[in-house]
């Protein structure tokens, strides 16, 4: 999870996968908890990289994929990056290296929700034609028109790998999808809802 601030999503998945029990969520972001504000490899089982400093996760993933190739151990590496995160030069340095080393065992998932903290990508730092840029950097790009539709996402993962090329799955997503008052709202990037809004959010998601 290169965009380490998405830790809650990662934690939910790891918990469902049995890496730890649900009671840990009671100590989320609290002293001595294993579920830190950003994923911590030394505290939380199942976390593969300590992230939170944007741009670093994808570089680490490239290193893992390169090592896997070198060792011939057949490991495949997946990493998720943000569109705001892609402002970092490091994302492009990593991408260049992934293509240079023909890392076809690497899949980068690009969460293109059009938003970061201070506004939309275009208000803060325009990415221009992101897909053309990733293609130019040597990725085999698979585009997913609705990245919030799990079936479309799974189909993308099942497309055959293009030999000798790293793969980038370009997800067009809606930030805050499914929660009426959060959808497409920059202000909800890193804010916890109060009790009333939490109830509303749960109703939205269940309904």
């Amino acid at each position: 999870m290169s965009k380490g601030h998405a830790a809650p999503g990662l934690y939910g998945t790891l918990c469902e996968r049995g890496f730890f029990t649900r009671d840990h969520f009671d100590h989320f972001r609290q002293l001595h908890g294993i579920l830190q504000g950003h994923p911590d490899i030394k505290k939380c089982p199942g976390v593969d990289a300590s992230t939170g400093s944007l741009g670093q996760g994808i570089s680490i993933a490239v290193g893992m994929a390169l090592a896997a190739k070198h060792l011939g151990n057949g490991v495949k590496v997946y990493t998720m990056i943000g569109d705001g995160e892609s402002d970092e030069g490091l994302v492009w340095e990593a991408s260049m290296a992934a293509a240079h080393y023909h890392l076809d065992n690497l899949t980068v998932i690009f969460d293109h929700n059009g938003m970061q903290i201070d506004g939309t990508n275009d208000q803060v730092m325009s990415l221009g034609d992101a897909q053309a840029k990733f293609t130019a950097f040597g990725y085999d790009v698979v585009e997913v028109m609705d990245g919030n539709d799990m079936q479309q996402v799974l189909d993308a993962f099942h497309t055959p790998v293009c030999p000798g090329k790293p793969r980038l799955i370009h997800l067009h997503t809606l930030k805050g999808k499914g929660v009426s008052f959060m959808e497409g709202q920059v202000a909800w990037h890193g804010k916890a809802p109060n009790d009333e809004l939490t109830a509303q959010a749960l109703r939205d998601l269940e309904g």
Binding site: Q30, G52, E88
Partner: protein
């Protein structure tokens, strides 16, 4: 007592400075909402430049802008001083460019975001660079004076700010770059501090007084250049010397004071700070207790260590 986060004061200071000096420009890396440069962004949109999440590029852009006579203030989280460190070193300090760094959310009181975001090393990184002036204001008033002073210094300046609201004290009528301030005179021990640890040192002082001690309290808004003279005078007067900082004990205030005392007498000297470990997620108050940095913990360390 009125409380205000130093980052909020930093944001207000930039707006005030922007009105006084049209050469002041502000750059941020997608954190204007948090570093509080958003006030400047609103007041002077044509003098605000969002650089996206690209701290290294921000710093060298500021370096370039300074060559045209502008006075750029760059802001992001203090922890990302590391991300842009080569640019701060070789892009700004080496040529001695007139670029300011107002970096926020320093130390463990950043809280829940956790160890990956808690800068415990920024003062060390900045202090070691030639040409750099290093400020760690202890309240909102001092922050304004540091920002103002930074604009008057022709060269790189680092200003450390904090996330958490902290008390606002009476302004220092004698504020001077490189000079410490005696907040409380004493005789048997001296606590030297900087930044928002002042609040906790004041609490510690109350406890120590209750135990019959007579502590002196000094606060240093400037770590570099440092007020060696004041630190030495109080060390010699009180002989039990304690530095308190929300930073690693390696390379921060404690290590600024240590060489000043070296060879100058016999002292009890303890560096109270983060003891060479990373922080973690938690409520700021819980973290201060855990890392022995609240008033009770500071007082306990002082009492344990005092001699004579």
């Amino acid at each position: 007592m009125e409380k205000k986060a130093i980052r909020v004061a930093y944001g207000e200071s930039l707006v005030r400075l922007g009105a006084e000096n049209s050469s002041v420009v502000v750059l941020d890396a997608d954190l204007a909402e948090a570093t509080m440069t958003k006030g400047f962004k609103q007041a002077y949109p044509e003098r605000f430049f969002d650089c996206g999440i690209a701290e290294a590029n921000m710093v060298d852009m500021a370096a370039g802008m300074s060559t045209m006579g502008l006075i750029p203030f760059c802001s992001t989280f203090a922890v990302f001083a590391g991300r842009s460190y080569d640019q701060i070193r070789n892009g700004v300090c080496y040529p001695g460019f007139n670029v300011k760094f107002g970096f926020s959310h320093a130390g463990i009181t950043l809280g829940e975001d956790g160890g990956s975001h808690q800068a415990i090393e920024d003062l060390a990184l900045m202090r070691v660079l030639p040409n750099m002036t290093v400020f760690a204001p202890s309240d909102a008033n001092e922050c304004w004076m540091c920002v103002k002073a930074a604009s008057e210094i022709n060269g790189p300046v680092y200003i450390r700010t904090s996330r958490l609201p902290s008390p606002v004290y009476d302004p220092d009528p004698h504020f001077q770059v490189g000079k410490g301030r005696v907040l409380m005179d004493g005789s048997d021990c001296v606590i030297m501090t900087c930044g928002i640890m002042l609040e906790h040192c004041l609490n510690a002082v109350e406890i120590l007084k209750g135990q019959g001690k007579n502590p002196a309290l000094l606060v240093f808004h400037t770590l570099k250049p440092f007020d060696d003279e004041l630190a030495l005078a109080y060390a010699q007067k009180c002989s039990n010397v304690f530095t308190v900082e929300e930073h690693s004990v390696i390379g921060g205030l404690g290590d600024t004071v240590a060489p000043v005392l070296c060879g100058k007498g016999s002292f009890v000297f303890r560096k109270i700070g983060i003891q060479d470990v990373f922080g973690q997620s938690g409520k700021p108050a819980d973290l201060l207790r855990e890392y022995h940095l609240n008033g009770e913990e500071i007082a306990r360390t002082v009492l344990e260590s005092m001699r004579g």
